[in-house]
């Protein structure tokens, strides 16, 4: 018998959004504080201090840390054995609508051409079927400043060595517009849309997880560019580079770079049957 109810999902979505919008995750706050310890550029230091103060103030006031409350991006892992007798996506939608009124969130959703209609219609839900009887809901509200600076390229299979340069160029071209220090999510392989999804998942990885050699090298090279916090100069351009891989066609090499601003908002909950 199902113990997960529709009402529960609606309320949990409101809670998740509230947490994500108001409280900067501990690992991100701690990465900003570490950056302040090593950063010597005076302007960069003013930016990092302001970010840390902002995170504390948002938490104290219980208000969203950034006016761009973002696109609510959901990743939902549904266990095969979880019994759900209601429309899960519609319940999430209702949770977003409720959160928009209660927190509140800015109305960001518009028609792409007419630019009209600003209700927060749900814009991105990714459902996966997994083993077990649990349902894990993750929300990552995505601001447009960094999302707009993301890029995807379909490389030739012989161009593996060009991947690094593509990532570096994407970060350099974004400059201060993506609100650095950023998290760089890279998706290598899969299909056209698959690479983008891998990159977006890569952004979700916590900053206290160790990076591999390739990721570490890329991080060092990005930070050597000197863009710094908000692109005003300094040694802290990125906090992490996270790469996810997927199998791809023998004739393909899709690479996607998803950029996440320093306000890396995310929250998760696991519901049990």
């Amino acid at each position: 018998m199902s113990k997960i109810t529709r009402k529960q999902v609606v309320n949990e979505v409101v809670q998740l959004l509230r947490q994500a919008e108001i409280e900067l995750p501990e690992d991100v706050l701690s990465a900003l504080k570490s950056a302040l310890k090593t950063e010597s550029n005076q302007i960069a230091r003013t930016q990092l201090r302001q970010m840390i103060e902002n995170a504390e103030l948002a938490k104290e006031h219980g208000t969203p840390m950034c006016q761009d409350t973002g696109t609510p991006v959901f990743f939902v892992d549904v266990g095969y054995d979880a019994e759900i007798d209601f429309d899960l996506v519609e319940a999430i939608q209702e949770g977003v609508a409720k959160a928009t009124k209660e927190i509140p969130l800015r109305h960001n959703a518009v028609h792409p051409i007419t630019r009209e209609g600003s209700e927060n219609e749900l814009m991105d839900v990714n459902l996966s079927l997994v083993k077990g009887n649990k349902v894990k809901i993750t929300v990552a509200p995505k601001g447009s400043g960094s999302e707009n600076m993301s890029a995807l390229r379909m490389f030739n299979p012989s161009e593996v060595k060009n991947i690094k340069r593509f990532v570096l160029e994407t970060v350099k071209n974004a400059g201060g517009r993506s609100c650095p220090p950023i998290i760089v999510g890279v998706g290598i392989g899969g299909t056209f849309d698959g690479a983008a999804k891998l990159a977006k998942k890569a952004v979700l990885r916590k900053l206290d997880k160790p990076m591999d050699t390739f990721e570490r090298e890329l991080l060092d090279e990005i930070n050597s560019l000197g863009l710094g916090p908000m692109g005003l100069g300094g040694s802290t351009t990125a906090m992490a580079v996270n790469v996810e891989y997927g199998r791809c066609h023998t004739a393909s090499l899709p690479v996607a770079v998803n950029i996440q601003c320093w306000a890396a908002r995310r929250a998760s909950i696991t519901l049990e049957d």
């Binding site: 948002a58 800015r106 109305h107 960001n108 400059g175 517009r177 090279e221 050597s224 000197g226 320093w262």
Partner: protein, 186 residues
């Protein structure tokens, strides 16, 4: 250098600022993003009266999150989207300060008359705290984020002078150094 400035500002007030200086602003700032810029150009082109004062004004690239007349989060939005429209805007109005984030690449347009300052991106809460009062809200048909909010601020900052009125642009300097560094990577 660190400055405390109070609006409205004259050309003389702003041309002394040098890229890298820190500014705290007091007085009135006017939010405008994509749609408000479009309308400013359209209305002034048609000779219609703009319902708020732009002489000596400070434009803030911001789409705030408001609850009635209280700012909950009001950090800057990406200024580059407004670069082209700003070139025309500065020909028509005596705007002295533009606040945003990420840079605009309009050094020549600002020369001898206007400066571009940056507020730290993502800092919606600190900015909201420095907003003391909503003086007016215009063009409300554009919605909460795109309408024009005339705001009274106190110690608004720290603002970094990113582009001064003498052709210095921090973003440009940083990009040039990054371009040099890129040459090291094959």
């Amino acid at each position: 250098m660190e400055y405390q400035l109070t609006t409205p500002l004259s050309a003389n007030d702003v041309i002394k600022l040098v890229a890298g200086d820190v500014v705290y602003l007091n007085g009135i700032i006017i939010t405008a993003r994509d749609k408000a810029h479009e309308r400013l150009l359209q209305w002034s082109g048609e000779g219609k009266k703009i319902p708020f004062e732009l002489k000596g004004a400070t434009i803030y690239h911001c789409g705030p999150l408001m609850r009635k007349n209280t700012a909950l989060a009001a950090g800057p939005t990406t200024s580059a989207r407004m670069s082209k429209m700003t070139t025309e805007l500065l020909k028509r109005f005596e705007i002295r300060v533009i606040i945003g984030k990420g840079g605009m690449n309009i050094t020549e347009v600002l020369r001898d008359k206007c400066v571009y300052l940056t507020y730290t991106g993502g800092c919606g809460s600190t900015a909201a705290k420095q907003i003391k009062r909503v003086v007016g809200n215009y063009w409300t048909d554009l919605g909460m984020a795109e309408s024009v909010w005339v705001l009274e601020v106190e110690n608004f900052g720290p603002l970094i002078v990113a582009t001064d009125a003498q052709d210095n642009d921090l973003f440009d300097e940083v990009q040039k150094k990054a371009d040099q560094q890129m040459k090291k990577f094959k």
